[in-house]
């Protein structure tokens, strides 16, 4: 495919925003701490490949493999439908667990300390 026929590479900020917005919607996710994307070379069909790495705080009691699987599905779906890129992998780091009512439980990081409800920001 010629260079004229390939779509422009997406803005990394847009990819991060899409991934973050999608991941926060997964069950058991309290807040997203960090998102990084690596935009790879175009594949044989002219697609841009994206590797997403994100870290999050999860609700205590959630089965973390299931949380990660849902995050991967949501992130891949959002990025692919919103940008046309192909998501090759989504690496998930669970950086902490949120226990409602626990002293010092992530106050100010997108969580209502009284109820444990998520506050999007």
């Amino acid at each position: 495919m010629s260079a004229e026929g390939t779509p422009p590479a997406p803005d990394p900020k847009l990819l991060v925003e899409k991934a973050s917005d999608a991941a926060i919607a997964a069950r058991g996710v309290v807040t997203i701490c960090d998102v990084a994307v690596s935009v790879g070379r175009r594949g044989p069909l002219g697609d841009t490949r994206v590797h997403v790495k994100l870290s999050l705080v999860a609700q205590y009691g959630s089965r973390l493999p299931e949380v990660a699987a849902e995050v991967r599905e949501l992130v891949a779906s959002a990025v692919e439908s919103g940008t046309g890129c192909t998501v090759t992998a989504v690496d998930v780091t669970v950086s902490d667990l949120f226990v409602p009512g626990e002293p010092g439980a992530q106050v100010g990081m997108g969580v209502d300390p009284a109820t444990g409800a998520r506050i999007d920001f």
Partner: protein, 123 residues
């Protein structure tokens, strides 16, 4: 940051799943909270050199195998081996329930004892 990582179980989208040390610490603390006669040490306490050396050994030993180092104190008058076995079983069950690890080794380090006259819960 010490991390434990492994590949995910199944799923259409590949990727690594990694747990930071505070995640495992909270699981261990929660699992042992109902065991009378012991209490967990707060993170960062104890012999710093020993903890550093032990933490150096806490590396992912396999995709399905996790080895944890847990520090606790036992109440005076209790059978310490029995407390340790109960702590090991409770932690392994809790971590196994919440993570994907199929084999979990819990090494318990008893750093001291406490009694009724000592300070209340460390955490």
């Amino acid at each position: 940051m010490i991390q434990h990582s492994a590949s995910p179980q199944g799923g259409a989208i590949p990727g690594r799943l990694t747990y930071a040390q505070p995640v495992l610490d909270k699981m261990a603390r929660h699992a042992t909270s109902g065991i009378e006669g012991l209490r967990m040490e707060p993170p960062g306490s104890g012999n710093l050199l020993e903890r550093f050396l032990l933490h150096r050994l806490v590396l992912p030993s396999g995709r399905r195998h996790l080895r944890m180092e847990v520090y606790l104190q036992a109440a005076r008058g209790w059978q310490i081996p029995d407390l340790c076995r109960r702590a090991q079983a409770a932690i392994a069950e809790e971590v196994g329930r919440l993570t994907h690890y199929e084999r979990i080794t819990v090494n318990v380090h008893v750093s001291g004892t406490f009694g009724p006259g000592d300070a209340e819960d460390l955490l």
